[in-house]
Subunit: 248 residues, 2 copies
DNA sequence: TAGATTGTTAATCGATTAACAATC
DNA sequence: TAGATTGTTAATCGATTAACAATC
């Protein structure tokens, strides 16, 4: 039953929490790890994340924030709290369909376990790829056949299916994942997937990313083309606020 | 000089335009291509994109919309208009740094040219990779050495740099791209990049995507776990409105 | 003509920001 | 104590939606 009731965190905040978390981790491992990185101010975190400091504080307040006035937030504790809020406690299994370059790149992504995800399988229907090893040592995994999908998905409600195949077979793959009970899909294929209402999909499309990036640069960034001249000092610092997207 | 003045399109709309465009293309090539796919209603486009129909109309109105009341929008013409609005007229060069699986996957992405991008180079600093071929036939490309970056970036102001390397070297790579004059970066490495204010960055992080997806599923999607029972009919249709993100 | 669907207005809603009192 | 920085309130801003007259 829904204990979800006590979760008033707005969507836009959730998306930013993940960004803050990443910034915190970057700070925690920073070159100056011995120095004062035990604590961070909303101002600094905002700078690193490309948002307004007031918004950082507002967002963190949703976490029942543990900052100290006049001091800041404890980096490690904050990271832990954010990780918990993002549901990292609550592990998920991940299956990747498609063992091409993209599938392998995703499978090779190191941070799975640390971020609360377990990669349980990489699948393909190409006989030349099935049986092939991915990664090595501890992380070694053998590519399975898509037909074995139902057997490999042990807890469908807690499994995320990653669609890492070309456009053509993408819908078919999605249907098979859904057929196996998977209800959350991350789609890297450049087509819109049609899914039932009880399935959550998130789409990542290279072209969309590039287009949005190019557009934003036009809109805000460049302005006039002579601005190459006002960059010298800026280039020196290289630690400025970054352009951030509308959200997410 | 800024001819950008005549561009009142809100950020949130831009992000959705790219999604609409993809949906339109999916429709245009759909199984029923012979049938009535010459025209599409805001209602249908909204359904495919997971947004409200009123919002689709609002968004399209920014394009000086060419729909016909009582009929709908012409699919092909609309797609063309949207492509133009997204700046596809205005070509961009793309350089990918990192010739690992991710870099190769991105390089292999078919839609570059069609979407207004030209892949000019894939670079790496690993001697074992430099000189290697990527893709074949027409699209064949040889991996260059990162040291040649300045020579390969011919029009920095119109070039997008894609960071497809591991976390460790990511900042260094970003610095080199910026040093070569590139002002727009798409970052796939799992660290926050520090860049000067005149550089636009867009970050794509697998962990962030997974986290946001999992959170959304918890928040909206599932609810109670018995809902496995109310899915049979839904599964049949498989053509429903999808969960969409806060934006972008 | 009757039905459908656009384009736009006005109302609602939510998200962002500035400002400041509380307090470490 | 004086300075810094949080947590929160209230004001602003922008984005979403419903509704409907215009019209194909």
């Amino acid at each position: 039953m829904g204990d979800q009731t006590l979760r008033p965190i707005p969507d836009a905040t959730v998306a930013r929490l993940a960004v803050y978390l990443r910034a915190l981790r970057t700070v925690a491992e920073g070159p100056d790890d011995a120095t004062g990185t035990a604590t961070i101010s909303s101002e600094r975190l905002a700078e690193l994340s490309g948002v307004n400091a007031a918004m950082v504080r507002k967002d963190l307040s949703h976490l029942g924030s543990h900052g100290k006035k006049g001091v800041g937030y404890p980096v490690d504790a904050l990271a832990a709290t954010m990780a918990r809020a993002l549901g990292i406690t609550d592990h998920r299994d991940v299956v990747i369909v498609g063992a091409g370059h993209l599938g392998r790149a995703l499978a090779g992504y190191g941070g799975f376990l640390a971020r609360g995800f377990t990669l349980v399988a990489v699948l393909d229907d190409d006989p030349a790829k099935v049986g092939t090893a991915i990664g090595d040592g501890d992380r070694r995994l053998v590519v399975s056949h898509v037909d074995d999908l139902p057997d490999l998905v042990v807890d469908p409600g807690r499994t995320i299916g990653v669609v890492a195949v070309p456009a053509r077979p993408a819908q078919l793959v999605a249907d098979r994942l859904i057929g196996a009970g998977v209800r959350a899909l991350l789609n890297f294929a450049p087509v819109s997937l049609a899914v039932p209402a009880n399935v959550t999909v998130r789409e990542v499309d290279l072209a969309v990313e590039l287009q949005v990036l190019a557009f934003h640069q036009d809109a805000h960034g460049v302005g006039d083309l002579m601005s190459e001249d006002d960059s010298p000092s800026a280039l020196g610092t290289a630690e400025d606020a970054r352009e951030r997207m509308a959200s997410t």
